[in-house]
Symmetry: C2
Subunit: 213 residues, 2 copies
DNA sequence: CTTTTATCGAGAAGATTATATCGATACTTT
DNA sequence: AAAGTATCGATATAATCTTCTCGATAAAAG
């Protein structure tokens, strides 16, 4: 259950289900529930119990026959596995609506994400503070990344500006990019790209609506 | 290439790639490019050409050997397939940071999404206008949905309020839910649920960062 | 006009992901 | 204490998704 260099043995599908389990498990923990079985978890999400066990296996937590898994143990293990027990600093570029929404999202600290600075190329936005963070001019981005050794870049700029900003980030040493811009990005192997593009999500919705008459 | 009742023969993966192709194709169209091959498209995204052809097949557009696909044809067909050439009205509940960001997202009209009203349970938010839309009290949601026959509900409320709001929406006849709340939702079969939960996306990012030492 | 080449679509093969089966185990019930 | 049962982990099977192969075809080159 390890990542072997560039080849993650844990599938993206599993990775996306882990936070779902975690949220539920934290609620159970708060209620004082001590153990939970894969059967119960599966029922909550309409998953298959075997799938749940396979997913949880990656965390290293082992269950007991006829009893299930320790809720507290799972919570810690999942959070550890996802890296949510340590802090990940990030810079955000593009203080538009989406950028502001992310800057204002308090819960990120629960997931170890710490947006340390925001940048914008629009001089009118620079200088103002948005949710306790000063907005810096884009020109200062490379220096800032190098100085603070921040690893994550959050991209909330319009489509046409996405690639140039990414290139700045990459040159300065960013290791992972969380992309909210509706643009395909070119990034070298080794850098992690996670797209959170609304249009992809929307496509699933509208196409289903369209085709069910 | 049809949806047969509850069983979509087009995979979610394909559905999520179609908007990527579309964005690029629209750029090509603007540049006056007439034809494009699966090979070229594949190179742009680091996909496999066969996969691109399989994806495009669902739209009904057929290519020509040695030539490729008509860009203009693909653009129309993909947009048709995704339902982005018609208008889908939606209501949004939860005028927090994320809700405001979505209300302010101008590009939705390009995708046929039209947020007709916003609701919030916080009386202090009610009455104000956010991006040209008045914020209405949550109590009016059911009546509004029934009267306007809106099909899509966008959920941008805190986790604990998610399920109750969903229940209101379902009772009033909502057919599809776009969920941004970090909560697992219980919805009956037949209703479309698309999760756009930030934490799932974040999990992929932070876990990769964590496990690559 | 013939050969070469790039690309298509269809179908086969391969890889990945999800589900089913089953012996072992730990708790409950009788 | 023995029998019954729910659940585990391991392994096998099934389903899905991706990639490869190949004959057909349309344009370009010779």
């Amino acid at each position: 259950m390890l990542f072997v260099s560039k080849d993650p043995v844990v599938s993206r599908s599993t990775l996306k289900r882990l936070p779902l389990y975690l949220h539920l498990l934290e609620a159970l923990l708060a209620q004082g529930v001590e153990c939970v079985s894969s059967t119960q978890l599966a029922r909550e999400f309409n998953f298959n119990p075997t799938q749940v066990r396979k997913d949880l296996e990656v965390t290293g937590e082992v269950g007991k026959a006829r009893v299930g898994f320790r809720v507290a143990g799972l919570v810690v293990r999942i959070r550890d596995f996802l890296g949510w027990n340590s802090t990940h600093d990030a810079v955000l570029v593009g203080v538009g609506n989406m950028g502001k929404a992310l800057l204002g999202y308090k819960d990120f600290e629960k997931y170890g994400l710490n947006i340390v600075a925001a940048f914008d190329k629009d001089v009118r936005k620079v200088g103002a503070t948005t949710f306790d963070r000063e907005v810096l001019p884009l020109a200062q981005l490379p220096k800032f990344i190098k100085r603070t050794k921040v690893h994550i870049g959050i991209l909330t700029v319009p489509a046409r500006e996405a690639q140039p900003v990414v290139d700045l980030m990459l040159a300065a040493g960013i290791k992972a990019i969380w992309n909210f811009a509706p643009a395909p990005l070119r990034i070298p192997a080794g850098v992690i790209l996670e797209n959170a593009r609304l249009t992809q999500s929307l496509a699933v919705l509208t196409s289903h609506l369209t085709h069910q008459n």
